[in-house]
């Protein structure tokens, strides 16, 4: 049973740096999309949107430079960031052969996957 307190220090530091960059990039990207989309909306004559664009219309909106679609992409990127962070930990535990926490992380990811798949699209 792996001792949960001992980590090859190097691996953990590398993981933390990777996750750090993931978080920063995620934030920067999503903010950029949000601002960009917001500016497009401000400059247009359209009535202000009250809902985000549903997934199935997103690609279309992206191509058509629809401001709300860009804002939606920004929000989705933001929501994805913590999830990707969990996924990063999952890979780490898998690589460390720390099975208990590989499973725990997988459980969390599965619950989130269910939430994403269930109900309206």
């Amino acid at each position: 049973m792996p001792n949960s307190s001992s980590q090859p220090g190097n691996e953990l530091v590398k993981l933390n740096m990777y996750l750090h960059h993931l978080l920063v990039i995620g934030l920067v990207l999503s903010t950029a999309f949000l601002v960009f989309g917001g500016v497009i909306n401000l400059a247009s004559d359209a009535t202000p949107p009250i809902k985000l664009v549903p997934l199935n219309q997103l690609m279309h909106g992206f191509v058509r430079m629809d401001g709300t679609s860009y804002q939606t992409i920004g929000i989705i990127l933001l929501i994805a960031t913590p999830i990707l962070r969990v996924f990063g930990s999952f890979i780490f535990f898998l690589y460390q052969k720390d099975w208990l926490y590989t499973l725990a992380t997988l459980a969390v990811l599965s619950i989130i996957l269910v939430i994403i798949l269930i109900g309206k699209g």
Binding site: L27, L42, L52, I75, P82, V108, I115
Partner: protein, 275 residues
């Protein structure tokens, strides 16, 4: 061109959100607790939309501060993952409930939770566990300020998990659940030192909020006109707050904050009765 009135409102929301971000990051509390009542009571935004916006700002706070905590090695990832299994389930249940419950019921529950927050701010104390007999989930870290090495284990894991489910529920339901719920569970109940509690809770709230946000997205309660100024404001505010952090006496700030929350708790109760 946009209606100038709406633009002005967006700018006001941005400014207010920035203030919330500053206060929040200085106290380790923020996001929904202060943001949602302000959006509902001052800007007259429907409560479910306000909660949706605050959930998004919680994610940004988590990622923003998290990028610092993770590098300092203060996040107890293993504990977080164990607790998040039940917390995310709770968020799932809470988020769905929020879709079903009436706005006035939500307002009422929100008022009650605010009272709890005020109580915790007034009477909650950091706990030190002397005896590190617990062997579960041992975590080693360095204090970032004096570089002293620390090691501790977790107590009361099962109760912690039950409470975490509740925390997740409230998170998904009301769009809050950062410092005020998860930190006491870890620090007071499970024996996690304050710094690690804050860092780990910060990690957890991002995951929980992401799960809830998916539900709010699907049901159409994420309003880009509200989310954008809110998110940008809180992001800016938390950057400012993190930098001016030590200069303001946090006791005074806590007192002021508690009064404000108390006030909002009553306004939320009134909202609940009015609908």
């Amino acid at each position: 061109m946009y209606n100038p009135v709406i633009l002005m409102e967006d700018i006001f929301i941005f400014i207010v959100s920035t203030v919330v971000g500053v206060i929040g990051s200085m106290l380790g509390i923020g996001g929904g607790v202060l943001l949602t009542p302000i959006l509902v009571n001052i800007f007259d935004i429907p409560i479910k939309t306000a909660i949706g916006a605050s959930i998004i700002s919680v994610i940004s706070t988590s990622s923003g501060a998290g990028s610092v905590y993770i590098v300092r090695g203060l996040v107890h990832t293993r504990l977080a993952m164990i607790l998040e299994i039940v917390t995310t389930l709770g968020a799932f249940a809470g988020g769905l409930s929020a879709m079903i419950l009436s706005p006035s019921a939500l307002a009422f529950i929100f008022g009650g939770v605010l009272l709890y927050v005020v109580y915790m701010m007034a009477f909650g104390k950091e706990r030190q566990y002397e005896n590190q007999a617990a062997s579960k989930l041992i975590f080693e870290y360095d204090d970032p300020f004096d570089e002293s090495k620390h090691k501790f284990g977790i107590h009361n894991l099962s109760i912690g998990m039950i409470l975490s489910f509740l925390a997740g529920n409230i998170s998904g339901l009301l769009g809050i659940g950062g410092g005020i719920i998860k930190v006491p569970i870890m620090n007071l109940l499970m024996g996690v030192p304050m710094r690690v509690s804050i860092a780990t809770s910060n990690f957890m709230i991002g995951i929980t909020a992401a799960a809830s946000a998916v539900i709010y997205y699907k049901f159409g309660y994420l309003n880009p006109g509200i989310v954008t100024p809110t998110l940008l404001g809180v992001l800016l505010g938390s950057q400012i707050g993190a930098r001016i952090g030590g200069r303001v006496k946090s006791v005074r700030l806590k007192q002021l904050f508690s009064l404000v929350l108390l006030f909002f708790s009553f306004t939320m109760f009134i909202q609940g009765l009015n609908h």
